[in-house]
């Protein structure tokens, strides 16, 4: 018999210390599974950036989605190693047309990052493992499109960028 799979259904994991989180600690939490090549994720970022919420980002970078999806997820993790996850995320979502390696080096320079360290980190097994972990957990939680938003304990994932109704419900 084939070995049991570990991709069966499981709840979305609770917030953990190595999640990428921004926003006021007391604000309502939204966990976003997303991808830096995804235009709908860029829209979600536009709507969440200044909303009175706390956002946790997890990778949902699929090989078949875009040739650079996984590469950009690794790049964001490499920036995170230098304390610049959100600035890199904002940079990538702000301009999704320039995502080749020289463009990434340019972004690093603009953000004041050490490019040599970035280059080493984005190819490291630790970064690959981290991205794979997020994707794996997203798959188990039923994520099937980007972005998918989870708000509140045990709530089902909601595909698509947040609309005004979603944000208003969070504020209650």
């Amino acid at each position: 018999m084939a070995p049991a799979s570990d991709l069966g259904s499981a709840p979305v994991p609770a917030l953990r210390s190595d999640d990428h989180v921004r926003g006021a600690p007391g604000a309502p939490l939204v966990v976003v599974y997303g991808d830096f090549t995804c235009p709908r994720c860029a829209v979600a970022w536009e709507r969440l950036r200044d909303a009175p919420v706390r956002v946790a980002f997890r990778h949902f970078a699929l090989r078949a989605k875009h040739p650079r999806a996984v590469a950009l997820a690794h790049a964001a993790e490499a920036a995170a190693a230098q304390g610049a996850f959100w600035p890199m995320a904002a940079s990538l979502w702000g301009d999704q047309g320039r995502i080749d390696d020289p463009h990434l080096w340019e972004r690093c320079a603009q953000l004041g990052l050490d490019v040599d360290r970035f280059e080493a980190d984005r190819r490291s097994p630790a970064v690959a493992d981290r991205v794979r972990r997020d994707v794996h957990e997203g798959l188990r939680a039923g994520v099937a499109a980007t972005p998918t938003l989870f708000a509140g304990d045990g709530a089902a994932g909601r595909p698509g960028p947040p609309d005004a109704e979603f944000l208003a419900a969070l504020a209650i």
Partner: protein, 155 residues
């Protein structure tokens, strides 16, 4: 239309592979098979679906199962869809008579004249082990459900 229930032997059916060759109930013999019924090649939700399912094709095969996409699109459209997405999931066409196989599995959406969004796991003995029909054709079942279905098959 109710989706085919676990414990039911698959009906006789005839789909077309990308090269036009037939794919019938006999092709299910000996291998656990996941049939993914989806509405339309190139539509947004179906695009998301094949891209996310392709991510785990290796894990599905690792479970000793094979996976196929099924829609009423003609083979040429399915092949173009597969090529555009760069996915490896083989496509089966239910084009003529339109939707006949999907109807036999309870996976046809009459109001839309299209394949419904459904998953069916068939055992190597051609008996359905698990099935899932989405609440509506716009709802995309996660891959976790496929693995739940395969686990039920193995139990």
């Amino acid at each position: 239309m109710a989706i085919i229930a676990p414990g039911t032997r698959v009906p006789d059916f005839r789909l077309a592979r990308s090269d036009g060759e037939p794919f019938t109930q006999e092709d299910l013999r000996g291998t656990t098979t996941v049939l993914v019924f989806y509405p339309f090649a190139f539509s947004p939700v179906c695009t998301d679906q094949l891209q996310v399912y392709d991510e785990v094709v290796g894990e599905i095969r690792g479970q000793g199962a094979e996976i196929y996409g099924v829609s009423t699109d003609p083979t040429y459209s399915q092949q173009a869809f597969k090529d555009k997405l760069g996915v490896s999931i083989e496509q089966l066409s239910d084009f003529e008579p339109k939707g006949a196989a999907a109807r036999a599995f309870g996976a046809y959406f009459e109001p839309g004249g299209m394949t419904n969004r459904a998953l069916v796991v068939v055992g190597p003995d051609q008996v359905v082990r698990w099935s899932h029909l989405a609440a509506n054709p716009g709802e995309l079942p996660g891959v976790n459900l496929i693995f739940d279905g395969l686990a039920a098959t193995a139990a």
